[in-house]
């Protein structure tokens, strides 16, 4: 009886020791992983395209309210975090992947979030979706190709990709509207990315500039009695 009790205790001790060793090794391995800030930023951009899930949310009364309130709360939290970071209450080092010029001004993720919020709440999805796609994919593609091909070619590639996004999302529109919208939207997106402003980030401009241009076009054509908007692309569950 005594012998078996001892072995059980020994076995427990041995397991505990092995578990601790394994845990320590695992923690050390995890800490040894280095993340490349450059690619981290790129993946952060492409991740944002999954916000399009917003348009699949059902149209029931309480969810409709949540669709307005929740994005506002999320962006407000981001504003608080950024305010505290800029004031120095939160250590800048904890924010992985921030650029040097973002030390004393709001980081680009906040601009991105504000632009997505405005698009969700104030723009029809036909305009919002291609603009969010441009910010999610065109921006990192331009950034990457700028390294290898130079500015001009990078913007040309960005323009073609943006045209593709507008063509895909407006494919149900009349052909002349499709062409006009794609060219105007892509021009806005590339201009928003190319023009660097001191206080407004390109992540904001790449979404808002094409959106505003298309909004003006839509309202202008509406005044002439033409509704250029195609049927919605995504349908709530």
């Amino acid at each position: 009886m005594f012998f078996s009790e001892m072995t059980a205790r020994d076995a427990f001790k041995l397991t505990k020791k092995k578990m601790t060793e394994y845990q320590t090794e695992f923690l050390e391995r995890m800490n040894a992983i280095e993340v490349d800030a450059h690619w981290f930023r790129r993946v952060f951009h492409t991740f944002a395209a999954s916000f399009l899930f917003y348009y699949l949310l059902p149209d029931e009364e309480w969810i409709k309210l949540g669709k307005i309130v929740l994005p506002i709360i999320i962006v407000l939290c981001m504003v608080v975090v950024e305010y505290r970071r800029i004031r120095g209450d939160l250590d800048h080092q904890r924010f992985f992947g921030l650029r040097n010029y973002e030390k004393k001004r709001p980081a680009s993720y906040l601009y991105f979030g504000v632009a997505v919020l405005i698009l969700f709440l104030l723009f029809p999805q036909q305009i919002a979706i291609p603009c969010i796609l441009c910010a999610s994919f065109t921006d990192p593609i331009i950034g990457e190709s700028r390294y290898y091909l130079g500015k001009k070619r990078a913007y040309a590639i960005g323009f073609i990709i943006s045209v593709f996004f507008f063509l895909v999302t407006w494919y149900r529109a009349d052909w002349w509207i499709l062409i006009l919208v794609s060219l105007l939207g892509a021009t806005g997106a590339v201009m928003g990315e190319a023009k660097k402003l001191t206080f407004v980030d390109d992540d904001f401009m790449i979404q808002m500039l094409p959106a505003i241009l298309l909004l003006l076009m839509w309202q202008g054509l509406l005044a002439m009695g033409i509704n250029m908007l195609p049927p919605p692309l995504l349908h709530p569950l």
Partner: protein, 86 residues
């Protein structure tokens, strides 16, 4: 023993501060999950009922999937390269 415990605690603290390590799996898994949801939605509401109304879900699902996979590959490769360098 005490020393070992200290290093463990130190490691845990370090890990908690490295937000990028917590974010990285989310940045990879969520978009792929969402894109599959779009594709599934297209299949259930559109393809299986023979309706072309939901083709938008298919297009967005494919765009999300290809766009994200493209960048995820480079991201994961960069982590591997840095690991090798160490």
């Amino acid at each position: 023993m005490k020393n070992k415990n200290d290093t463990r605690k130190e490691n845990i603290q370090k890990l908690l501060l490295r937000l990028e390590l917590w974010f990285a799996p989310v940045l990879i898994i969520v978009p792929i999950g969402v894109s599959f949801f779009f594709l599934w939605d297209w299949y259930v509401r559109g393809f299986s009922t023979g309706s072309s109304l939901y083709d938008g879900e298919l297009l967005i699902g494919l765009l999300l999937l290809t766009g994200n996979l493209m960048f995820d590959i480079f991201f994961l490769r960069s982590i591997r390269i840095l690991k090798k360098k160490q």
